[in-house]
Amino acid sequence: MFYYLDKSEWNSYLLSLSKNYLIYAPFQNNGFIDFQLFHDKPETIIYHSAKTITPLKHFLFPLKEKVTDQPAVQKVMVIGAKSCDLAALDLFDKIFLDDQLMDDFYRRRRENTLIIGTDCHSVDKTCHCTVYDIKPFPEKNCDLTLVENKNEVILSSMTKAGEMFLSQISGSGRIKKKDEKLPDSIIKTRKEIGARIAKANRTLPNSKKTQTVIDHSIGKKDKVWKKYASTCVSCGACVISCPTCHCFILLDTSRPGVMEKIRNHDACQYPGFEKMASGVDPLEKHYIRFRNRYVCKYVNRPQKFKSLACTGCGRCIDTCIGKIDKNEVILACSR
């Protein structure tokens, strides 16, 4: 069911919610669109851009977090999550919400973060979600979807938390109407955007073919890997900006009498990531370390978790100082 309300009603409701939630939404800032803490000016929220600079994972898996204490978690609302970031939560949930070894820090953030997904009505040069069967509008892993349509906002729930949120808005008398479907214009835009992304990336192999290409490249395409690794400076920007990269390092910060550990994002692209006490390092050679990220994303994680670890957001291409185009690497391996 889709709940329609006037944008002015939604904006005033958001302002009232900021007392209960830390609300993050995409705003224009110095030429970039990225999540910022919402205080006022709800009319300046950019709902339907392509992906934000920061991936959604940073709200659930912060760059740095103490993991020996469990302070109270604040209620957070993230507005404007894109389907590429939402799809990445498939892998995150499988890894961090493992029944046997549950990461309580991730679980509590996940449960206390209301995620509102929004459509992409524009496309970045590097967007290629459709290659991996992800549509440019939210279909899963969010509590609500939101579409801005002229002077109205259309909300729909995807989870129980989303339903509760909608019932609260309904209770406040702000809902204008309910309907079984979205306006035709929105459905048309969704199709057009999907087609644009597909057309721009028509030469790229799909997920299954990419898996085969990368798997077969091990030991057979060293020249390709060495060529592209030659401009990689192991900065790890591709990893930090990736919505699916989940690696971290536990740092001991204990003081006398207090055992304390901090979880810090880490990157397989940093030298020494897999180095053992004996000095042996499976990723010592730069091109193998560079290749590892591709093998992880397209071969190993799908094999273990049945989830592709690339959602086609293209951030790794945008952020690379070595000007390495991940898709160009895949195409070079496929030749």
Binding site: V67, T68, Q70, I95, F96, D98, L101, M102, D103, D104, F105, R107, I218, G219, H246, C247, F248, I249, L250, L251, D252, T253, S254, R255, P256, M259, K261, R263, D266, C268, F273, E274, K275, M276, A277, S278, G279, V280, P282, C296, V299, N300, R301, Q303, K304
Partner: protein, 270 residues
Amino acid sequence: MKNIYKPLKSKIENIVHESPGIKSFVLKPDEEFRFDTGQFIELTLPGFGEAAFTPSSSPFEKKRFEVTIMKAGYVTSLFHDIKKGIPVGVRGPYGAGYPVKQFEGKDVLILGGGVGLAPLRSLLLTLVAQKQNYKRIILCYGAKTPSDIIYKDQFKDWEKKGVQILRSVDKPDTSWQETVGVVTVLLDKIKVDTSKAVVAVCGPPVMMKFGTFKLLEIGFKPQSIYLSMERNMSCGVGKCGHCAFGPYFVCKDGPVFTYDQIKDFPDVWL
């Protein structure tokens, strides 16, 4: 809910010098601590870091356990400098250990090299405690020199308990009466029906590699060869990615794998 990252406070009760560069530490956690043989722990030296070790003692002892540490990296070197009584942290136990139930009714061969005997000692003590469940227990152990042999005073006791023991060193001294050569030469000296036997292997990568090849050559099936794999196990709970090994995380899916599970990976032997 249990915090998987929070260490359990423990105390180092005793330190045993096993060989130059290898010491065993007797740990007493603040609470009862259970593990299955072959599982590992993350041992924290507060303020410095933590490292993964497989307990080398019997899992039937619940109040204290031992780890045997070779001075190799940053954390292990610090452990070699500490004195008993120091508080440390223990996380775990983690990972999949030896499936000893599946060993029942069979000959169990244990092939160890150097400090690799540490996790195998825990297995050996587990098997010896329920010896009636296994046909034979055979230990083949190799070290560089006689002084590099660990648990020196314990072999006689294991022998008395019915373990067949064969030992070798690469470089003997004048008192050495046993085999000279790499540990795999001991495999020529044993008679075992490989169709009714399993083997657990742990040691330096080169020993694991050639040990496995030799075991295959004498007829062991890949699914009967249990390898204790070494990788950079950091979080211990299959999340941080440091010990990725093909599609597996060694800390969660291992550290014990059958050769059959991993034989097709490009970087099995480093």
